[in-house]
Symmetry: D2
Subunit: 363 residues, 4 copies
Amino acid sequence: MQVKVEKKKKVAVVGATGIAGQQFLIALKDHPWFEITVLAASPRSAGKTYENALRTPNGQVNWWQYEPIPAAFRNMIVQNSEELNLKELDIIFTAIDTDAAKALEPIYAAEKPTISTASAFRMEADVPLLMPGVNSNHAAMIAQQQKNRGWKGFIVPIPNCTTYGLACTLAPLHKAFGVKSVLMTSMQATSGAGRNGGVLALDVIDNLVPYIPKEEEKVENETLKILGELGSNGQITDAKIGVSCTCTRVPVTDGHTETVFVGTHKPVTVEQATAAFREYQSDCADLPSAPKNFFQLHDDPFHPQPRIDRDSDGGMTTHVGRIRAEKVLGGIKYVLLSHNTKAGAAKGAIFVAEYLLAQGIIK
Amino acid sequence: MQVKVEKKKKVAVVGATGIAGQQFLIALKDHPWFEITVLAASPRSAGKTYENALRTPNGQVNWWQYEPIPAAFRNMIVQNSEELNLKELDIIFTAIDTDAAKALEPIYAAEKPTISTASAFRMEADVPLLMPGVNSNHAAMIAQQQKNRGWKGFIVPIPNCTTYGLACTLAPLHKAFGVKSVLMTSMQATSGAGRNGGVLALDVIDNLVPYIPKEEEKVENETLKILGELGSNGQITDAKIGVSCTCTRVPVTDGHTETVFVGTHKPVTVEQATAAFREYQSDCADLPSAPKNFFQLHDDPFHPQPRIDRDSDGGMTTHVGRIRAEKVLGGIKYVLLSHNTKAGAAKGAIFVAEYLLAQGIIK
Amino acid sequence: MQVKVEKKKKVAVVGATGIAGQQFLIALKDHPWFEITVLAASPRSAGKTYENALRTPNGQVNWWQYEPIPAAFRNMIVQNSEELNLKELDIIFTAIDTDAAKALEPIYAAEKPTISTASAFRMEADVPLLMPGVNSNHAAMIAQQQKNRGWKGFIVPIPNCTTYGLACTLAPLHKAFGVKSVLMTSMQATSGAGRNGGVLALDVIDNLVPYIPKEEEKVENETLKILGELGSNGQITDAKIGVSCTCTRVPVTDGHTETVFVGTHKPVTVEQATAAFREYQSDCADLPSAPKNFFQLHDDPFHPQPRIDRDSDGGMTTHVGRIRAEKVLGGIKYVLLSHNTKAGAAKGAIFVAEYLLAQGIIK
Amino acid sequence: MQVKVEKKKKVAVVGATGIAGQQFLIALKDHPWFEITVLAASPRSAGKTYENALRTPNGQVNWWQYEPIPAAFRNMIVQNSEELNLKELDIIFTAIDTDAAKALEPIYAAEKPTISTASAFRMEADVPLLMPGVNSNHAAMIAQQQKNRGWKGFIVPIPNCTTYGLACTLAPLHKAFGVKSVLMTSMQATSGAGRNGGVLALDVIDNLVPYIPKEEEKVENETLKILGELGSNGQITDAKIGVSCTCTRVPVTDGHTETVFVGTHKPVTVEQATAAFREYQSDCADLPSAPKNFFQLHDDPFHPQPRIDRDSDGGMTTHVGRIRAEKVLGGIKYVLLSHNTKAGAAKGAIFVAEYLLAQGIIK
């Protein structure tokens, strides 16, 4: 899938002032195919320079990335997300909350490809929950979506950041052995909750919280859709897998760890499962944001560890360790780690756009 | 089980200078039935005052409890654990490592009741893994052990701190519904690893470690023995339950959290499971170290949380929250929390001794 | 100062739903002199039971204390803080933000003694910044305040939680040796920032923040007022001390640690400074909330430590350790720890009310 | 100072298996001037492959860096540090403890340039405590050292990691305004303590420790030597500055933060101090490990923050923020951050070697 992009696509980042929006800026600042021409946010921020839009009344600049605001964006004037000039754009990336997404994304999608990090449209019947390398063929749903809705563009949301790593690791197992049941416990990073209403220090110092509202349902439902079969009618038939989760919040900044117990239809040994991960061929390895290795396997049982491993391969690989026989379910158990604010958020959305561009679906 | 102890029993704490030994001192300093008359440790510490035995070359006093060294022990002379005068003692509590336990505990047990926090003898066929309120009837194995080994005393080890909470919560479920399968993920506190070779800050700041050597096997094996049936031959038949665990270390000082997925033989609703926990009658509620409530149930789905909940009821209750239907296994899922250095260590050992005294097995 | 209170005083806690308000409930639930008869909060909460007022849309009960909501308050109906029936109250404790305090406290104080945790009135000329045991004589300003303002009641605010420990430790040094200069660095707990706009986990995991808006100015100004001289004109002359601070936020839940370098007018040895702390006589030691020891001195240079030491003596003592000669300034340097949400907040305010009651100023 | 190195120098890393030694491997793996030809460690490790030398009895490979063991070193055979063939080496880097350094470094230095991270020789009269860009002229002491000791090589130790940032920031202030007094409080990362006897999680979760043995004396003494004057007799006259420190350990993995209060001889404004930092000309900016900016200045008062800022500029810059007037001492106060395991350890030692090579002192 060698692609040559002659002229960079013009992209807008909507919700550019939030933590996920900032991650888009970092991920896009030197992107070979995409160029941010519009930063958009709520009317409150519109008309300000980007830096000033980040400034709080007490003078703090609410920029939370590990490198400074890219120079190209510091003084760019933030536009009102409700009044974008869509004609001058090729792609819209959104990093906004569910309610804003429900209102704005259909407006964008009527005209342009809209890649969303919000959950608003994930479970709609004509919307693919696209994960390049996992269910790339679901991209075929886009034509149907456009037809149904009379849109020139479309909406493709990325899955929940906790679903992401789970679906990545189930894909090769499902293909090779048939997954029957999945029992997963997540230990999720605090960055996943963003900053407005984000996780308070008091809640996770010397502590963990055994509940994240709505998270378990999302993971269970999204996983079945992602691993589902796309029928000739353009409809997904959910995968027939029993999925049960407990999602917890732990004192980690970035990187979701998940312990996974998998029951399979066919017998599977540790060696076979390891080989399935090792030999898994993503169909997207040439895309700019693709990890060099779709999976990074760990022999050392003390890994993967979030602080040590999360940033390897640009935060886009999925780490798998502690692969062991699962005797109760009949299958395999393992521990995975994926970067919730890279693979599971902005960079993951960009990866989707790259795939759609490479496929000619984004033009 | 009302008991009146006329004269306090004389007890030794062996391994008194370690973190678990220190916990014995705190738990025993005002105990109504037991009085520490001997503090023992390795020959290196013997002959020093207790405080001096805790002192490092750079002058630090390695005392890690939340209250000062109890005055009664500060200047007590530490005895050599290899040369205890057992005649002057009624009970030996040990807080030593496995190798030391293998060497010393049989010597103690030949003469006196020895309650151990070490794993050395847990899986021996004539040794009960006694949890008052869970498998109190296993105390009957002691007579057989004495006969087999020609001992006047005996060894009763307590289970691993991670096993403790799991076995507590499985007991009422197993009794009421028959437990078929258990998939558990632990998020364990750092105090469980002690201080020599303890968990380093570098390993758990903004991080977690998905592996604790030998822990999963212990939990799996001990759980089956604890919930096993004591036959008329004095032998335990392990419970017929499939148990599979992933044990991780998280940045929490005290309190092990476990997410548990349970499959049951009989159907069970959330209400029935909740009732089983609520109505569970421990047969030891009158013992000095017994929790007021064997289980503390949480309606608030954000609980139990280790920092907030671990110390309630003297650290001796087992917290259960997030009780939900487990559809994949057919059963119940929940989150538990128990205090690994109280219920799961020193205080738990004292609780065992209280039970054996109340039963007349310790005299 | 032996006091006998025949009939408990009726008190209101205003701002009862916030974290500081909750601390008042815990501290007052079994108080020998005070009885909460009114829980008040903003109109949004008024009319609900206390528990329901704590409930968020997603069902979480925002109660963050280590013990459950005291039974007496769970179903008490929350009153509107703007419409209190002051006649039925003896004392008002406020735990509200600055703007609310500016609006409401004068209304309360016109009728009743109002003890405030807010900063709104701390620096007003006729308002004492009262710390029993440190500047108890400043209570005499209350009569002047009532005269100036035509109030039947009065406002007495407590100092900032970071000022509290500093002023406590400077008091004996100032008295004995004359303090000339103070250079202080604080390492402050996250609980000090409350929960609305509280410190986010992302900001303090594997991190610290070297700035707390407005904190340094508060500490510098309040310290001079607290240690100032009350003239016969009822005015405070600020202490003539140079105070310079850097206030930082660290990953600790409760307990502010401060490193203090003090220059003194008279020469002082470590022994003399230690004696000054040890022999310091608080004039309030008999009050119900007074610590047994006004200072807890630590010989072990590794202490005080927030997690280990903060709760000793009910969180009302000030810990002092690492007392060393300060050669650059000519004086003494040390490390202090005080509990920012006990001595430095609700319990500290109650302590003030006890003192004023014992003095007959609250009737 | 443009330098062209034709042929890479052959270097040994002694203490290669420890955490500081591992940092040398990462920092040297692609170095343009240096090539590791020898990995050395204690006799216990000698003869094993490097990876096997890191392996513990339970199978864990004790490698703690964020990237894997560089392929070039994984199977290199570790040599016995007591039996190095010095003839085949150009430079020795040591990352060993004080006692080992006392024994081994003179043996190495008799033959070859030895750059040490240990404290053993720092305060010897003929040993420079060299910081390129701060006291580069102290390199002239090396000739004297060789003459005194009859060595063909020499020892140059780097300063303590806490001294490093302090001395960097004092250098421009001392030059421009004359520093009279320094009161510093450090909040040090846990990585500074290494792993053997390293900081335990229990000590810094929800906690900090207000004491680090021997650290304050080191910082005070080393600072005076580094900023001292090299006389024509080859002797350093210590700077006439009063330095007083309190060193604490906080829950941060990497990056030492220091709050600094500085009194100056000449008056200084915030603008002047800021300019002094901004305009400071390091004489080493062209060296491979030199930071692009010797100082990184922060306008945002919430920075520098260790997790966010420590890695910028390769971990070799010194961050300065919160520059404010210091009214009590008459001078300037600020907060600094430097990377204790990069600038303050392995990479800092390599930087010294680069400087000495560029100067022709290492040949």
